[in-house]
């Protein structure tokens, strides 16, 4: 691991420890506060991957992965918030060298929502252009949106809370209905698909952060919680499963947090980590018993977020087909 990466990891870990850990449940309930958003900007986490000539820090891919991982361990919502701005919004703006929007982003003037119904096989596409329903990021003033004409737009407008709906995951980011006032085309659907493929390693980092966050809590809980007068960890089914989960996590992390990780390996890790995070967070909840079912214990959010994030940024059909075709060196898995 290079030095920059190590430094970024410590910085992110410290930040999460200092500013997020104690308020993680509050973030889930009330959203990421503007004070936290402000601090994220100040510390340069948001927009960090932008090239220096765009005003960013030109953060290397490994450092970005470590940063997202450390945040996701504590608050998947915060990690996703940075991810969407760094991996999607900034990149879309960069393709058009839209320096002004980037400056506004880096100065905290703009806060972006994400909207891409119909990006995945079978998902409903949006037909209305009057309202963009359930945009991710409840406090956005702009949105990167995929419209039913198959094009990506930068949309300015107004957000409004969604009534009678509570999203499954990323509750810290929240959702809103967005009323467009002005939109500018920024490319075709393929731009987003391409960005999602290129972000494979970052997506994997969030999934693994989610898994590690839930497993850390579970390691601790199974040490202290007793049943039939013995700590849970003394029972084979708990200890063996935890050993199995910790092993998978460790082996994936080793591969993900390496300078050498190339495109195919990052794709592999995205697929593996998506299903792993669901498995790990489910066991984490199970081993917490009834307590795991309660928001206060901070475990169920990882389970929800792993599934919600999968539905939002992981595409089981397309991503697997893409990888299979890479591995076979020929189009595969399309029947």
């Amino acid at each position: 691991m290079n030095e920059q990466a190590e430094l970024m990891r410590s910085a992110a870990r410290e930040f999460a420890e200092k500013y997020l850990k104690d308020v993680a449940t509050k973030i889930e309930r009330e959203g990421i506060g503007s004070d936290i958003k402000e601090k994220i900007l100040q510390q340069g986490f948001l927009g960090a991957t932008l090239s220096p000539d765009m005003g960013g820090a030109g953060l290397d891919p490994l450092s970005q992965r470590l940063m997202l991982f450390e945040f996701a361990k504590v608050s998947p919502s915060v990690s996703a918030y940075i991810f969407f701005h760094n991996d999607i919004v900034s990149k879309v703006l960069e393709t058009r060298s839209d320096k002004e929007s980037i400056r506004n982003l880096l100065e905290g003037k703009d806060n972006y929502g994400i909207y891409w119904p119909g990006l995945m096989e079978g998902a409903k596409t949006n037909s209305s252009e009057k309202v963009m329903e359930r945009v991710i990021n409840s406090s956005c003033n702009k949105t990167i949106g995929l419209f039913s004409d198959g094009k990506v737009y930068l949309v300015e407008g107004k957000n409004e809370p969604v009534k009678d709906f509570k999203p499954l995951g990323l509750r810290g980011m929240g959702i809103c209905n967005f009323f467009p006032e002005k939109r500018v085309e920024y490319g075709k659907k393929e731009v987003l698909e391409d960005l999602l493929i290129k972000s494979s390693g970052d997506i994997a980092s969030i999934f693994l952060g989610i898994a590690e966050g839930s497993l850390e809590k579970t390691m601790e809980y199974t040490r202290v919680r007793k049943t039939f007068n013995e700590p849970l960890k003394n029972y084979e089914p708990v200890a063996f499963k935890m050993a199995e989960l910790e092993s998978e996590l460790e082996i994936m992390k080793y591969s993900l947090f390496s300078d050498e990780a190339d495109e195919v390996r990052l794709l592999m890790l995205k697929n593996m980590s998506a299903s792993f995070s669901k498995k790990a967070t489910k066991y984490a909840l199970q081993f917490h018993g009834g307590y795991g079912y309660l928001e206060d214990f901070g475990v169920e959010k990882f389970y929800r977020d792993s599934v919600a994030l999968s539905a939002i940024i992981y595409r089981p059909v397309e991503d697997k087909r893409f990888l299979a075709s890479k591995i076979y060196g020929d189009r595969s898995g399309f029947l």
Binding site: M120, Q286, V307
Partner: protein
């Protein structure tokens, strides 16, 4: 061999399904879910319309499945006011039955079961709530956790410790069941909020501070409480199996519709999602058969704990497998539909009324004891 339900049960199932489809719309279910509100109007409506019929356990089971298939949170809420009733039916004095059960059936009262404690869970016999006999009453101190209907029930069938055996291996003895009313002095309850799922159901912590319970509220014999409760779980597990199968069938219905729609619109479906649909359907079918077989023993006064635990264990794992798979197949669409609520509701199935781990302990113990489960 005969795999058909009786005509009466089929008709009953149909009636419950119609009621549920009418009353448990996504909009209604969604509001109770978000607000974590118990649907008392629906409970009363269901009772009035004869949808809830606890006189026949087959009907109870099928009713639960059909309701949960439409919405698990509301389905469970509407069918749970009787929770724990079997303990009273089987072991309560005539006085207790008359005083308490009748009003529940009439819809005037709601009851609950008080077994689990903070730090308790699977180890039921390790409970710490103590009832000290003083004259013709018991003085109860302790607390209960994760109690369904905790802030709305009028009374609880509660497991407490009435004696302290010297030998820790014999701690199953010395437990007794009392009927504890909410309005007894020293009783308090705190609603638990922020549940992952089944948020329309009411869950609370109970606190008992020198609560005085008349001695006549003892259910059955002193010291036999552990066995009454284990017997009860052997019954209630079949109803959790029904909840689970309702959930699994519910997401199977919705996933099937999703894929049918894709096909209809000429969109790509792909074999992988079809295979997953087939796996879901197979597991739902297998779960239901296990439940029916276990029920055919249990409701015939010949309970088979191996089969009951198989049914509960397998069905609950199927519910959570099916809900996860449905989320995977439907993706963004599922995220913005009822499926996400089913997904959140499903996980508790593997935890309450005996975790999956407890079911496996029961099954393996019976097999190694030589039970042939026949």
């Amino acid at each position: 061999m005969d795999f058909d339900l009786s005509e009466e049960l089929k008709q009953y199932g149909k009636k419950v399904r119609e009621f549920s489809l009418k009353e448990f719309s996504n909009k209604v279910a969604s509001i109770y879910d978000i607000q974590e509100q118990y649907p008392d109007e629906l409970r009363i409506k269901a009772l009035k319309e004869g949808i809830i019929d606890f006189s026949n356990p087959w009907k109870t089971m099928i009713g639960i499945e059909e309701m949960c298939r439409v919405d698990p949170g509301l389905g469970i809420s509407v069918t749970v006011p009787f929770f724990g009733a079997e303990v009273l039916m089987l072991h309560g004095s005539d006085h207790l039955k008359e005083k308490y059960l009748g009003k529940v059936a009439a819809g005037e009262k709601i009851m609950g079961l008080g077994v689990t404690e903070p730090g308790g869970g699977s180890d039921v016999a390790g409970l710490k709530t103590v009832a000290r006999k003083e004259g013709n009453k018991y003085v109860v101190n302790g607390s209960k956790m994760f109690i369904t209907n905790g802030t709305i029930a009028d009374f609880f069938v509660m497991l407490v410790r009435t004696a302290h055996p010297d030998d820790p291996a014999k701690r199953h003895r010395g437990l007794s069941v009392l009927v504890v009313e909410r309005n007894f002095k020293g009783f308090d309850s705190n609603k638990l909020t922020g549940k992952l799922g089944v948020r329309a159901t009411n869950t609370a912590e109970l606190i008992l501070n020198n609560v005085e319970v008349p001695a006549e509220n003892l259910v059955g014999d002193e010291g036999k409480g552990f066995y009454y409760i284990m017997e009860f779980f052997n019954i209630s597990r079949i109803f959790v199996a029904a909840q689970s199968i309702g959930i699994a069938q519910g997401v199977l219905d919705r996933t099937t519709d999703f894929l049918k729609n894709l096909e209809k619109n000429g969109d790509y479906v792909g074999e992988e999602r079809k295979f997953k649909l087939a796996e879901m359907a197979t597991r739902v079918e297998a779960s239901r058969l296990l439940m029916y077989k276990a029920a055919s023993f249990l409701f015939n006064y010949n309970p088979n704990p191996t089969l009951t635990s198989m049914a509960k264990g397998y069905a609950s794992e199927t519910a959570s497998f099916a809900a996860e798979t449905a989320m995977e197949i439907t993706g963004q669409t599922g995220l913005n539909s009822e499926i996400e609520r089913f997904f959140r509701d499903s996980k508790i199935m593997e935890i309450w009324e005996g975790t999956s781990e407890v079911e496996k302990i029961v099954i393996s113990r019976m097999i190694l004891k030589g039970d042939k489960n026949e």
